[in-house]
């Protein structure tokens, strides 16, 4: 069984937002909305400050609260652990939005709930997600964690990595190299 994951190298990410624009174009994301976004995190004590730039999106959690709370089953998990929303089963109750600690979902202007799909239509065609394809610094890597020789597995084995809010218990599948 495949287990898709995305690895974001925060040493390489410059925050150019190409991934955001590529996603909006590929998935016809309505104007003013985004499925992926850039976060700039600064911490420390002046002048000893550190900055990390992250390209974030739906974490396609292994233990996904959005899927558990969905009353109709519109939010569901497909091959590789990708979390999807079936538009004509979604009633727009917004429980999944309230359930997501990453706030990765939004209400599409047409009424249903929308979010990152890991570009499942491209993945099924053997291609990479649009954001990964366009990243000029190659900081995004998409692949299968169940394959011991995949690039994502190698990166997580050889580099120090973290996930976001692991204490929320969602087992996110978006990893950040730091």
């Amino acid at each position: 069984m495949a287990r898709y994951a995305m690895v974001v190298d925060t040493w390489r990410c410059v925050g150019c937002s190409d991934c955001v624009v590529a996603c909006q174009t590929e998935n016809r994301v309505p104007l003013g909305y985004c499925r992926d976004w850039i976060v700039q995190d600064t911490w420390g004590t002046f002048p000893d400050l550190k900055t990390e730039i992250r390209s974030e999106r739906c974490n396609h959690c292994h233990n996904s609260p959005c899927v558990r709370c969905c009353p109709t089953g519109a939010s569901h998990i497909v091959e590789g652990g990708i979390v999807l929303v079936t538009h004509n089963e979604c009633i727009g109750c917004k429980a999944c939005i309230a359930a997501c600690p990453y706030d990765a979902r939004y209400v599409h202007p047409e009424g249903y709930i929308d979010k990152c799909t890991f570009c499942v239509h491209r993945v099924r065609a053997g291609k990479h997600p649009a954001c990964v394809e366009v990243c000029p610094t190659h900081c995004l890597t998409f692949g299968d964690l169940s394959d011991p020789n995949s690039t994502v597995t190698t990166l997580l084995r050889t580099r120090v990595s973290k996930t976001l809010i692991p204490e929320a218990g969602t087992q996110p599948q978006l990893y950040f190299l730091s």
Partner: protein
């Protein structure tokens, strides 16, 4: 996204995301959901006491609670359902709720509870229609026959309604407490708290409409007990938060120095619980008090509680 500073450490997070209704603070649920949660609790309270006193065979002792109050249940629950429908952003697909039962989702079993208790509330009201309105009588003999048959099984029906009313009352709170992502809602106390608050508003409606002094006094005492339990639960809600993780402590601080401090402690705890409890205590002490005053305060306090809890939950979040 957010920033906070300590004496020796700074942390600033900025995000390029600005999705409508998501950023900077969730605004996905407006007035519709808290109003529904309130009406659901109120209907649960009305049906609970009506069913309870039928089971106890006290129809004649508490006629308002058993026969009059259920007249409010169908219209109130229908208004609640309409507000729920109004909130759905993809509402033409609402029937999808009834093509599946997803036990892990409180909203799913809540939808099924509503789907059963709504028609039952109409049946229950029909059962007492002739008692509630003496000048009314059923037009056809066969309708009268059906009502008489149901009347024969009223205790069994009362048990069913009693269980469903408790489920409905608890579910209005569990619905929110199941969201781990919103720390202020993420407390197991919320379900029982909303149930007790719903029962309390149910007694308040009986106190407002009862004709006999005996019934008003009886329900005023029940309400006093329920308010006591509510105050106890509110204390435990905050104790639980302060004994928990940083995000839960932050959520509790919204009510202890934060923006919800004044509305919650003055409107909900003060005017909605403590003041009506004091007035009801005077009544227990054989002082002459108008029970309509505490009843009205409880009804308004319950509504404000739902609005504040909903709003505070939406603005509480994990820090990262």
């Amino acid at each position: 996204m957010k920033s906070f500073s300590m004496i020796f450490h700074e942390e600033v997070i900025t995000s390029g995301r600005m999705n409508p209704e998501i950023d900077p603070v969730l605004t996905i649920w407006g007035w519709e959901i808290p109003l529904y949660l309130y009406l659901g609790g109120l209907v649960a309270g009305i049906l609970f006491f009506s069913a309870y006193y039928v089971i106890r065979h006290r129809e004649d002792e508490y006629p308002t609670a058993v026969k009059m109050a259920p007249m409010w249940a169908p219209p109130l629950i229908v208004i609640g359902l309409l507000t729920l429908l109004l909130d759905l952003s993809h509402w033409p697909y609402f029937w999808r709720l009834y093509t599946t039962l997803h036990l892990e989702s409180p909203m799913s079993w809540g939808a099924w509870t509503l789907g059963i208790i709504t028609p039952l509330s109409f049946v229950w009201a029909a059962l007492w229609l002739e008692d509630a309105f003496p000048r009314f009588s059923w037009p056809f003999l066969w309708i009268k026959g059906v009502i008489n048959t149901i009347h024969y099984f009223r205790v069994a029906l009362a048990w069913l309604i009693l269980v469903l009313a408790v489920l409905l009352g608890v579910y209005t709170g569990i619905l929110l407490s199941a969201f781990n992502a919103r720390p202020f809602w993420n407390s197991g106390i919320l379900g029982p708290l909303f149930l007790v608050s719903g029962l309390s508003t149910g007694t308040a409606l009986v106190m407002l409409t009862a004709k006999s002094h005996h019934e008003r006094e009886h329900f005023s005492r029940i309400d006093l007990m329920l308010i006591g339990i509510e105050l106890f639960m509110i204390v435990h809600l905050f104790m639980g938060f302060f004994a928990s993780t940083e995000v839960h402590v932050e959520a509790a601080k919204l009510f202890l120095g934060g923006p919800y401090t004044a509305p919650f402690w003055v409107l909900v705890v003060g005017l909605g619980l403590v003041v009506p409890a004091l007035i009801e205590l005077l009544g227990v002490a054989r002082q002459k008090v108008p029970v309509q005053v505490p009843a009205a305060l409880v009804l308004v306090g319950g509504l404000v509680l739902r609005f504040i809890v909903l709003d505070a939950g939406l603005s509480s979040r994990w820090l990262y």
